[in-house]
């Protein structure tokens, strides 16, 4: 099948949606002639004009307000926050307005917007350009949280997110933008809230998000040579979470490792562990449920420190091996 990069897949989703639904429009900082900090919207302003591909001033609260206001008023806004870190300036509108309006108004309003943002470290952008804040949004009822780990899901989930009648926080990863993979040309959707088994295995269930799925798959290749078979699970949508496949997998393997880039304490890993530990999978557990996540520190600038801060393939290999071998 045709291969596209993650960036191209996202762009194609945006273009196809803008072609098929005139309510869809884009806005954010430098998304026009500049094409977006990571090039996702490059070329779209030439195709759709500046009204539908709107460069905004540096005003993240108002950008979030555009999402909420335009959505309630019947449009399908797709905003971009240049780096996820800056969404810290948008929380009031997203959390107190966007996420709550429907419920607060007795279920009589719909707030269909998508807010895209790149998360993660690995580019040397340091502590204020490397945040992974997905669990903040997972903790907000009314929002949906999506994190694609490959080009195919990136296109399919973005098209599904734009179709979704609810607010969707769409989290991309800087290091995945150049990743290539098969992407059908025709429009398609990957259902929201559908967890995927990225690799079938028997010894350890590894639940990973975003770029950690890629690393977990690499780790699985390494361990396969040792006869250790990892089952790699990619939730793709973190909220609402389709947890049944995770629970089924743990019932099968009896061992679970949860991997994410965000710092461990208070992160999404706790939610996954709690879903497992309170489920019928508990009776099948043969080992403690382990988390492998970012260190509880801001992302350092120095290359070595930055790399040591978040889980790498070798760390996943080590942790998964320990679990498989019953050493912990």
């Amino acid at each position: 099948m045709r291969e596209l990069t993650y960036v191209e897949a996202l762009k194609e989703a945006l273009r196809q949606k803008m072609q098929s639904d005139e309510r869809v429009f884009l806005f954010g900082e430098d998304i026009g002639v500049y094409g977006g900090a990571f090039g996702v919207t490059a070329g779209l302003i030439q195709e759709f004009g500046e009204d539908r591909v709107r460069d905004t001033p540096i005003s993240e609260a108002a950008i979030a307000g555009m999402c909420v206001g335009a959505a309630v008023a019947g449009m399908r806004p797709v905003g971009e926050i240049q780096f996820m870190d800056f969404v810290t300036l948008s929380m009031e509108q997203l959390v107190l307005q966007g996420a709550k309006i429907r419920f607060m108004f007795g279920g009589k309003a719909t707030v269909p917007f998508v807010l895209r943002m790149p998360a993660g470290s690995g580019t040397g952008a340091a502590a204020q350009h490397s945040e992974s804040l997905e669990n903040w949004f997972v903790h907000v009822p009314g929002l949906k949280v999506v994190m694609p780990s490959n080009p195919y899901d990136a296109k399919g989930l973005l098209m599904a997110a734009i179709d979704d009648p609810n607010p969707v926080i769409f989290i991309e990863h800087k290091l995945l933008y150049k990743m290539k993979g098969p992407v059908p040309e025709a429009p398609y959707t990957v259902p929201i809230s559908q967890t995927k088994i990225a690799r079938v295995g028997t010894h350890v269930s590894v639940v990973a998000t975003s770029i950690m799925v890629v690393r977990a798959l690499e780790a699985a290749d390494v361990l396969a040579k040792e006869g250790i078979e990892l089952e790699v699970i990619d939730p793709r949508t973190l909220s609402p979470l389709d947890d049944q496949p995770i629970i089924e997998s743990v019932k099968k393997t009896g061992k679970a490792l949860v991997v994410h880039e965000a710092c461990q304490t208070g992160g999404f890993g706790g939610e996954v562990v709690a879903r497992i530990a309170s489920s019928e999978a508990f009776d099948y557990l043969e080992a403690p449920i382990k988390r492998l996540a970012g260190l509880d520190i801001p992302i350092p600038y120095n290359r070595n420190l930055e790399r040591a801060t978040v889980p790498q393939v070798e760390n996943i290999v080590t942790e998964a091996r320990k679990l498989a071998q019953g050493k912990y």
Binding site: A61, A62, M66, G69, A73, R102, F105, K108, A109, P141
Partner: protein, 326 residues
């Protein structure tokens, strides 16, 4: 502000509706007086923000707007909500009492009364919370190329929130059809406007966004009406947003738990001489008897609403999870 004793009887463009507007103000006043009573009787919980004394702003403004326009309202929003197109007093009172028949099925309450069917996008518990949303609403109008406007209400305190700055700047560079209506009732909770804002007239802040800014007597229905009309005309013509500052006064405490240590009884009394209802009635040459009669019929309407609300069922806990997601 000087006390207006005799004002012109020429009600200009409002001649026909003058009496109706008076009755709207009376309906609002009575709604809130009764709401306060119900509150004292413990028939509702939470808090409550009364706009008693500010009725001219709500009534004068809505008279200048038309069906299909959008409203973004504040925590002190009973007045604008009742003055809005197709407002249903029963549904409002029911929401105030948290009943299933309320506008928000009892989920929202006083601070969140909304009616999206009439583009009333809701009161707001967040000071200035509607302002960023107005950018999106205004932008949606621009894209749809309709002649709608977005009428955004907020208080004097809200104009110090960062969102005010971001939103007015955006609305101006894109010429969005948004009317920023600042109801300056002199206080943000305990904070006098002179202490909270480093400017003598909030409307002057419009200059930072190259948009017209005007300050009007917020207790004069006609003055408010005319200012909003001008802003509406500009907005519908695609000439962009306007900032209106309506000077008025909050008669009651900020909320139930306000001892009002920050102001004097005399100050309140002075402003009460500006009672927008009394002033409007005078200009209509209404006799006290006529005014009382209108007041009485408003009271009846509200009592009906209370009866309806009290007879209405409580929301059922069984479907408590409904409405989080569409």
């Amino acid at each position: 502000m000087a006390i207006k004793n005799k004002e012109s009887n020429d009600l200009g463009p409002l001649r026909e509706q003058a009496r109706a507007l008076l009755n709207k103000m009376l309906l609002i006043r009575t709604f809130e007086e009764k709401a306060e009573e119900l509150y004292m009787l413990g028939k509702t919980h939470g808090t409550m923000h009364l706009s008693i004394g500010q009725e001219a702003a709500a009534v004068g403004a809505s008279a200048a707007l038309k069906e299909g326009d959008y409203l973004l309202n504040t925590h002190r929003g009973h007045g604008h909500c009742l003055a809005w197109f197709g407002a249903d007093v029963n549904a409002m009172m029911a929401e105030f009492l948290g009943k299933e028949t309320g506008y928000c099925r009892g989920r929202g309450g006083s601070m969140h009364i909304a009616n999206v069917d009439t583009n009333n996008l809701g009161a707001n518990g967040i000071v200035g919370g509607g302002i960023p949303m107005s950018t999106g609403v205004g932008y949606s109008i621009k894209l749809r190329k309709t002649d709608q406007v977005c009428f955004t209400v907020f208080g004097d305190g809200a104009n110090n929130e960062g969102a005010f700055h971001e939103s007015l700047n955006m609305a101006s560079i894109w010429k969005l059809p948004v009317i920023y209506f600042c109801e300056n009732n002199q206080y943000a909770m305990s904070m006098a406007i002179e202490k909270s804002a480093a400017i003598d007239r909030i409307s002057k802040r419009a200059a930072s966004y190259s948009m017209p800014g005007v300050t009007v007597d917020g207790n004069d229905v006609l003055a408010v009406y005319q200012a909003v009309c001008e802003a509406v005309t500009r907005a519908r013509r695609g000439e962009g947003p306007t900032l209106i500052e309506a000077l008025t006064y909050r008669w009651k405490g900020h909320s139930r738990s306000d001892k009002q240590a920050y102001r004097t009884r005399d100050e309140v009394a002075e402003w009460q001489k500006q009672d927008p209802i009394r002033r409007w009635a005078l200009r209509l040459n209404l006799t006290d008897a006529q005014l009382d009669a209108e007041r009485e019929s408003a009271a009846q309407r509200i009592d009906e609403a209370i009866a309806f609300a009290e007879a209405s069922p409580e929301p059922s806990v069984d479907n408590i999870l409904d409405g989080v997601y569409a």
